[in-house]
């Protein structure tokens, strides 16, 4: 086998920060290569250099044995390198075929003076035929005339892959391709990738999900802190544990250690028939009902965009609710504003920590009391007591292991994702809430911090707090929760005991294939307590 792409001592610096240091990597034609590493390890930087989005500070890049320098993705595509980004680069208002041909449209050609002259208007008929043929050839199950805004996430990803196949690339790079897919779609994708490999394409897949790597990769390269740690073949000697150790540099617990303490009997937080509508008057939350007991974590699973965001907004008092009640220990708290909810003893960890959780330009000490700033001792008759604020901050930063460099009270914008999340956790957990509503607690957070955050959440549970955890990461939901509810199109489609759940079964409910009756969901509710 020939080497299709090779890097020699590739280095990328952003100012003083070295994102990639001396990376030398060889990828064989026709293999599936997985590149794994923690968030922020430099995987994406490396791939962006292979795709011409970033240019290396030093080092060489060889494609099929020839040194190349790519100024833009266009150069990469011309060489035969294509990339599917984690956040899809699609235009929602255009149709499937328009998105696929984007940038490489076919125009009518006219003959004038005996020569072919490219015309002005797009030849939509020819384009449609070509794309239909392409879809049929790879069996991609798409309708070319659908608008991209109306199709599922899995279908959008297929559009992205086709976009690259239409450009006839030989090397396909996929950045975190499974992050947004349900388990069935993941299986489907992996089958497609293996089929593409058989048809002669080379595939690089960037991910931090070890199971999927084990399922499809031929070789696995591990990157940690900007450096290539090593490349191992995917065989029986390579285990998830050994890979994780290579990624983190120390042994990690891949499973969360849950205590045996059973969930309580008393219902502390209850949502009853909650319904909310979006801007088109469509029901975005449809008759949602569930209860959380003392000492219990309820996990909310589902593909993103099925109402989880809105559920969190509605429960934190940031969105109007059309119908239904939210009860805390029997008292209706639906329609209260966030500060009132906080005073009732509810803590929030919002989905987007930078939009709703923190003020980036403010210091840690101010962020760590945000929402409680009008309380004593931080504030006395409207005058802030910054000494108390700072003292509180110093204490919590230590207690919750927020890692700081020289500056002891920097603005939150300077912190890494994991440390920023710890600031929010410190703020919410230190108030000892009776109910805790958590959304995407570990998104964009490194493995070490994930372990810490999970342990903190479970410690809160054991102290009696009723907790809801929304996450798009199924293994996170399953690891933390006592009970799992599944959301699909704004409804609850299923309810499971966490220790009995099987992922492919969950996937059927997440994709709306299966739907429990109300009674079954009710019975599932009893689950966590037995």
């Amino acid at each position: 086998m020939d080497t299709i792409i090779e890097t020699r001592n590739l280095t990328k610096k952003f100012g003083d920060f070295t994102a990639n240091r001396n990376i030398s990597l060889e990828i064989e034609e026709g293999e599936i290569r997985a590149i794994i590493g923690e968030n922020g390890a430099g995987k994406s930087t490396l791939m962006n250099m292979l795709y011409g989005i970033l240019q290396p500070t030093s080092g060489q890049l060889l494609y099929r044995g020839r040194e190349v320098s790519m100024k833009s993705p266009k150069d990469a595509i011309e060489l035969g390198i294509g990339m599917v980004h984690q956040h899809f680069k699609l235009s929602p208002s255009l149709t499937v075929y328009e998105n696929i041909v984007l940038g490489a449209e076919t125009v009518h050609s006219h003959s004038a003076f005996g020569k072919k002259v490219p015309g002005f208007l797009i030849d939509t008929k020819k384009e449609k035929e070509e794309i239909q043929a392409l879809i049929d050839r790879f069996d991609f199950n798409l309708n070319i005339m659908d608008k991209v805004s109306d199709i599922s996430v899995g279908a959008k990803q297929r559009v992205e892959i086709l976009k690259m196949l239409y450009r006839d690339v030989d090397l396909l790079i996929l950045d975190e391709p499974t992050a947004v897919l349900i388990p069935q779609e993941v299986d489907d994708l992996i089958e497609r990738l293996i089929a593409l490999k058989k048809s002669g394409k080379t595939i690089i897949i960037i991910t931090h999900k070890l199971n999927e790597v084990k399922m499809c990769a031929d070789n696995i390269s591990v990157i940690r802190a900007g450096e290539l740690i090593g490349t191992v073949p995917n065989d029986s000697t390579t285990t998830n544990e050994s890979l994780a150790e290579m990624m983190v540099g120390r042994q990690v617990l891949l499973r969360v250690n849950k205590s045996d303490k059973a969930a309580g009997e008393k219902v502390r937080f209850a949502v009853k028939n909650l319904t909310a509508v979006d801007s088109d008057n469509k029901k975005i939350l449809n008759n949602i009902s569930f209860e959380i007991h003392e000492n219990e974590v309820v996990g909310v699973a589902g593909v993103e965009g099925n109402g989880q965001t809105e559920l969190m907004l509605a429960l934190s008092g940031l969105m109007e609710v059309r119908e239904g009640r939210v009860e805390m220990e029997g008292e209706n708290i639906c329609g209260l504003w966030p500060d009132e909810l906080r005073r009732k003893g509810i803590g929030f960890i919002p989905e987007d920590r930078y939009q709703q959780g923190l003020c980036l330009d403010e210091k840690i000490s101010n962020n760590i009391i945000a929402g409680y700033h009008e309380l004593s001792p931080y504030c006395n008759k409207g005058i802030m007591n910054y000494r108390a604020v700072r003292e509180n901050s110093r204490k919590l930063v230590k207690e919750y292991d927020v890692r700081l460099s020289a500056d002891l009270d920097p603005t939150v914008g300077c912190l890494s994702g994991g440390n920023a999340q710890k600031v929010i956790i410190a703020r919410e957990f230190s108030r000892d809430p009776r109910v805790l509503l958590v959304s995407q607690p570990t998104r964009g957070v490194d493995i070490g911090a994930i372990e810490f955050i999970h342990n903190q959440i479970l410690a809160m549970r054991d102290r009696g707090t009723a907790i809801m955890v929304i996450s798009s990461d199924l293994s996170e939901v399953a690891g933390l929760a006592d009970r799992i509810i599944v959301m699909y199109h704004g409804e609850i489609t299923g309810c499971f005991k966490a220790d009995e759940v099987n992922f492919s079964e969950l996937g059927l409910y997440m994709s709306g294939v299966k739907h429990m009756s109300d009674q079954e969901i009710q019975q599932g509710k009893g689950g966590g307590r037995e």
Binding site: S72, P73, K74, I77, M83, H85, H87, F88, K89, L90, S91, P92, S93, L94, E98, N99, L102, G103, A104, E105, V107, F120, L121, I122, K163, A276, V277, D278, S279, D280, N281, L313, G317, L318, M319, E320, W337
Partner: protein
């Protein structure tokens, strides 16, 4: 009601809609490419001024027309450099252009001609001769009274609107403009040069603004007066907004605003002076009403809570 009066109103509507249509259709491209450009107003004002000033100084209408285009294009290139290339704030730069347009003409008029109100070039330009007689229309009764004897730029506007709508929806360039505004990452990832797309959109808008300015000063009056654009640029911004950045819809709103302007002009002849200045607000009231009609349902749709009511 007198049939002639209605025909006259419609004819005036066509006449008054011309600058609105021009500024709107060019502005739609800029807006669609994701650049919020509030300097349409200033650009039009500069073109109107340049057309008369250089025409008057050189004694040639053609020189005036060419310099109006050059000034508008130069202005939008500067706008491009500051906002797109160097990432300056769109509103600040747009505001700066509008402020310049409010003071540079007055300053130059004072320096060159010792007046601060207007520059009359009727010695060079006879507005009556600017109207074109289209023989084919003569035999068609109603259309003749409405569409015949309009200016060249008015006829050009009809062609331009159709051409630009086709450009937006049926060509590569149009698709790139739409994608650039909707998801700039998508455009970049397939090698579309988004900065160039934005520049081209700004150039289109420069040309249409220049035509609008020329229509106002050179074609209609042969006179430049201070603040001649009279907020048409801002009115067109709301036409673009009301039409949700779609060229055909935005053009419908542009014509509605043109109709309001024509109505105001006609009504002026029938009311006492005191009231006529009150009627002057008619085009602006139309905007507010149109914006309310379009935006209230949008505001109602928002279910996110931002402010706590009483």
């Amino acid at each position: 009601m007198n049939i002639n009066l209605i025909l006259n109103l419609l004819k005036m509507t066509v006449e008054a809609s011309t600058p609105y249509l021009l500024i709107t259709i060019g502005g739609v491209f800029v807006a669609r490419a994701g650049v919020f450009n509030i300097s349409l107003e200033g650009c039009t004002e500069f073109a109107a001024f340049a057309g008369i000033l250089f025409g008057f100084l050189s004694g040639s209408i053609l020189v005036g027309v060419l310099s109006a285009f050059l000034v508008a294009i130069a202005l939008n290139i500067v706008f491009y450099l500051f906002t797109v290339k160097w990432n300056a704030d769109l509103t600040v730069i747009g505001c700066a252009v509008n402020l310049l347009a409010a003071c540079i003409p007055a300053c130059l008029l004072q320096a060159l001609f010792g007046t601060r109100s207007n520059l009359v070039a009727t010695s060079l330009i006879d507005p009556m001769k600017m109207k074109v007689d289209v023989p084919i229309l003569r035999s068609v009764p109603v259309l003749n009274s409405i569409f015949n004897h309009q200016t060249r730029i008015t006829y050009l506007t009809f062609a331009l609107v159709i051409f630009l709508i086709i450009l937006m929806y049926r060509t590569k360039f149009g698709i790139y403009v739409r994608v650039t505004g909707e998801n700039i990452g998508a455009a970049k990832s397939v090698g579309v040069k988004t900065n160039r797309i934005k520049l081209l959109c700004l150039l289109i808008s420069a040309v249409t603004c220049a035509l609008a300015g020329l229509n106002l000063s050179v074609e209609e009056l042969g006179i430049y007066t201070i603040n001649m654009t009279a907020n048409r640029g801002f009115i067109c911004l709301s036409a673009i907004n009301c039409g949700r950045k779609e060229p055909h819809r935005a053009c419908v709103y542009a014509v509605i605003f043109g109709f309001a302007r024509a109505l105001q002009t006609i009504l002026n002849n029938y009311v006492p002076v005191a009231i006529s200045s009150l009627i002057g607000i008619l085009p602006y009231v139309t905007i507010i009403v149109a914006l309310l009609i379009v935006e209230i349902p949008n505001a109602r749709k928002n279910h996110l809570r931002i402010f706590r009511g009483a």
